[in-house]
């Protein structure tokens, strides 16, 4: 947290530099700004291990959520297995509050493809899959067109850039499942199944797609690769902190004057970021809390925001996470019980249902959050919530269960009074009542169809 931040180094957006230019998604535009030159210079020429070494030295960390060092992950790829190796690019962008990969896919897809080509050469894979969430329709069209254009130029396909290296790039569309953002869930989906995560180990780098060694990386991570290989590891490390070097795209939403996508060096103060880039809070509102890294990240209170810098370590030290970089500001008028009910509904809806603690736990969290939201909670219900949340963590195939439990725990930690204020009913009166009893018949039907109970009152998308 107290690491020195290299704020003195001037920074211009790198990944998002061209996203506001009208034709930035075309190959002509990309070639005119020197596109595919880095790939041409290295594919078939540079020793792959050298490229992995550069990425390792640069300290680049995964931008999909976990922040795992990318070069190190590439180093884990099983070699000499006699099986093909795959690259699977995660463009599911399903973490609520995150809307950065969308801009790369829609407005600068060739930037991603050049990163894919370089990564495939570095890890010696001849086949990359790019998985896009089904709702990205423009993104799919643009990326498909980009792949076709790159094929036409001989940058993808047999013997790319006139070398002996073959590369296939396959774009797969998802169809509306948050869990397909989880890396092994995504692999299950690419394999033609429901997006069920797989137990780890074995990690995908050993046994992933079609039981072959696979590297999974986020779109933004892969887009970074070209710039790092072009400019070197030290160039990347001139920004950010010791342990979180470089820059990142942050997505700002909620109660700020200028919500949007901003690319900034890591390690700047969160309060400054919200003030300088987001223009501060909307008129007449004060900050109540901030969700710093997508919906799964534990909340920060305004005091914590003051002490927070935008890097992996600072957020971890505050008990939260940088996650995918989706920052949402909640203003003082937000009803926290409504917010937590909405949040829990999301996880209950999106749990794939393989693990009992997650399938049942998310349901319990949702029901109990609903009871607090509707003012029918009993005295011990907040403790029960804490208990359920605690018992969901670390006991499941993937970390969706943790991702649901963590925000609940942080709401309980910082807004316990709000929970207690809604616990109107003495324990004995509420004992015979279940959350379902309060659900209107119409909502009941809705819950059968969508797995999500609703309530009759207004606020926060909970309206029926």
């Amino acid at each position: 947290m107290s690491e020195p931040v290299k704020t003195s180094v001037p920074f211009e957006p790198i990944l998002t530099k061209y996203i506001n230019e009208p034709n930035a998604h075309t190959i002509e535009h990309f070639l005119a700004r020197g596109g595919y030159e880095v790939a041409r210079a290295h594919v078939g020429v540079t020793d792959p291990a050298t490229l992995v070494g550069i990425v390792k030295d640069s300290g680049l960390r995964g931008r999909g959520g976990a922040g795992f060092p990318t070069g190190m992950k590439w180093g884990f790829l099983a070699k000499g297995t006699g099986k093909p190796a795959y690259l699977a690019v995660n463009g599911d962008e399903s973490e609520p509050g995150t809307h950065k990969d969308r801009h790369i896919l829609e407005k600068d897809p060739h930037q991603l493809l050049e990163g894919v080509i370089l990564t495939c050469w570095a890890i010696q894979s001849n086949h990359a899959f790019i998985y896009l969430r089904g709702e990205f329709i423009l993104g799919y069209e643009r990326l498909e067109a980009a792949v076709r254009a790159a094929k036409g130029k001989g940058f993808i396909g047999k013997g790319i850039f006139g070398t002996a290296f073959d590369l296939k790039v396959t774009v797969v569309r998802g169809a509306g499942a948050y869990i397909c953002g989880e890396e092994t869930g995504m692999l299950s989906s690419i394999e033609g199944g429901r997006g069920y995560p797989k137990i780890k180990p074995p990690f995908p780098a050993i046994s992933g797609l079609f039981k072959c060694p696979t590297i999974v990386n986020n779109v933004e991570t892969i887009a970074n690769v070209t710039h790092i290989i072009k400019n070197g590891a030290d160039w990347h490390k001139q920004w950010g902190t010791e342990k979180s070097p470089g820059y990142k795209i942050f997505c700002l939403s909620g109660a700020v004057k200028k919500p949007g996508v901003y690319e900034v060096p890591l390690g700047i103060r969160m309060a400054d970021f919200i003030e300088q880039y987001g223009g501060g809070l909307v008129e007449g509102r004060a900050m109540k809390a901030v969700i710093p890294g997508g919906l799964s990240a534990p909340l920060l209170t305004p005091e914590m925001v003051e002490n927070c810098t935008l890097d992996y370590e600072s957020l971890a030290s505050l008990g939260s996470m940088l996650g995918s970089g989706g920052i949402t500001v909640l203003h003082d008028g937000v009803d926290m019980m409504s917010a937590i009910y909405n949040t829990m509904r999301f996880y209950h809806h999106e749990s794939c249902g393989q693990c009992t603690p997650c399938r049942e736990g998310t349901g319990w969290l949702e029901k109990l959050a609903h009871k607090h939201h509707s003012g029918h909670a009993a005295e011990g219900d907040a403790d029960l919530l804490a208990d359920v949340a605690k018992n969901m963590r670390g006991r499941t195939i993937c970390v969706l269960a943790d991702a649901a439990a963590m925000p609940m725990q942080s709401y309980l930690q910082h807004f316990r009074a709000d929970f207690d204020a809604r616990a109107h009913e003495p324990a004995h009166a509420a004992r015979h009542r279940t959350a379902r009893d309060e659900i209107t018949p119409a909502a009941k039907r809705d819950s059968v169809l969508h797995g999500a109970p609703g309530v009759a009152d207004v606020g926060m998308g909970n309206r029926e």
Binding site: D101, A175, A177, G192, T328, G461
Partner: protein, 252 residues
């Protein structure tokens, strides 16, 4: 036996697309996500017939395809409206009543609450989870069209334009009966059942004793043989005239 007028297979262009993909994917099953999209385009939604076609093309059981279609919420189903409204209801959109206002406007124009389809099948409305454009709430998708900050006059005008395109008016919908969007899949026709399995899926254990009998020493372990019905190419019923639950008329 009802005459079925819907196309029985994919159009030549879509089949060509399928064949192009064969080269791209390591196995047929992994093409399923994309083949379902072809089916969706071809039939306008993923119909029972479309699921059989997808199963056949990808070499999987129809039950697996049904499992896929009910797992993934973005696939369009026949019970969705021709115009399918998907309103993001996740926190970032829901803040400050943005989701609610979009839903209220849809209800005010079309009389639809989330999870409902108009009786004429033209419109449906549903709440969906995060659509990844959180800085411009509320986010709404109408089939493959994506809209940000979709509220107020913009949303009203858009719904009006759809109504006009269909030659309808708000009054055709307000206060009229609606149907719940039923996303369940139909029971598989009996020619996909294991022998002894009924339409409702229960299995008669006529041969229960054989199952329970201990395997004698030195005897080969029991194996379950695949019933011949499942070995039948799944195109067979599609090539016929109907997709009926009556095994006699649908299958030879």
């Amino acid at each position: 036996m009802t005459a079925n007028t819907a196309p029985r297979t994919l159009s030549p262009e879509r089949l060509r697309q399928f064949h192009d993909w064969v080269d791209e994917y390591p196995n047929k099953r992994s093409m399923l996500m994309m083949v379902l999209r072809l089916v969706e385009e071809e039939f306008g939604s993923i119909t029972d017939e479309g699921m059989v076609i997808a199963a056949d093309l990808c070499g999987v059981n129809v039950a697996h395809v049904q499992g896929m279609v009910t797992f993934y919420t973005h696939f369009k189903r026949p019970t969705h409206g021709k115009h399918r409204f998907m309103v993001c209801a996740t926190l970032m959109c829901a803040l400050d009543g943005n989701t609610d206002s979009a839903l209220a406007q849809i209800q005010a124009k079309l009389g639809l609450k989330p999870g409902e389809t108009s009786a004429d099948g033209l419109f449906s409305c549903e709440k969906v989870e995060c659509l990844a454009d959180c800085d411009k709430p509320p986010v709404v998708q109408k089939d493959s069209e994506h809209f940000c900050s979709m509220k107020g006059p913009v949303l009203d005008a858009y719904i009006d334009s759809l109504l006009a395109k269909e030659g309808k008016a708000s009054t055709d919908y307000l206060g009229k009966a609606v149907v719940a969007t039923d996303l369940r899949v139909s029971v598989l026709p009996s020619h996909y059942n294991f022998p002894g399995e009924t339409e409702t899926g229960a299995r008669h254990f006529d041969d229960k004793d054989a199952y329970l009998a201990p395997v004698a020493q030195g005897q080969a372990p029991r194996t379950t043989t695949v019933p011949p019905a499942l070995k039948t190419p799944l195109t067979a019923p599609v090539a016929g005239t109907s997709f009926s639950n009556n095994s006699e008329d649908a299958h030879v």
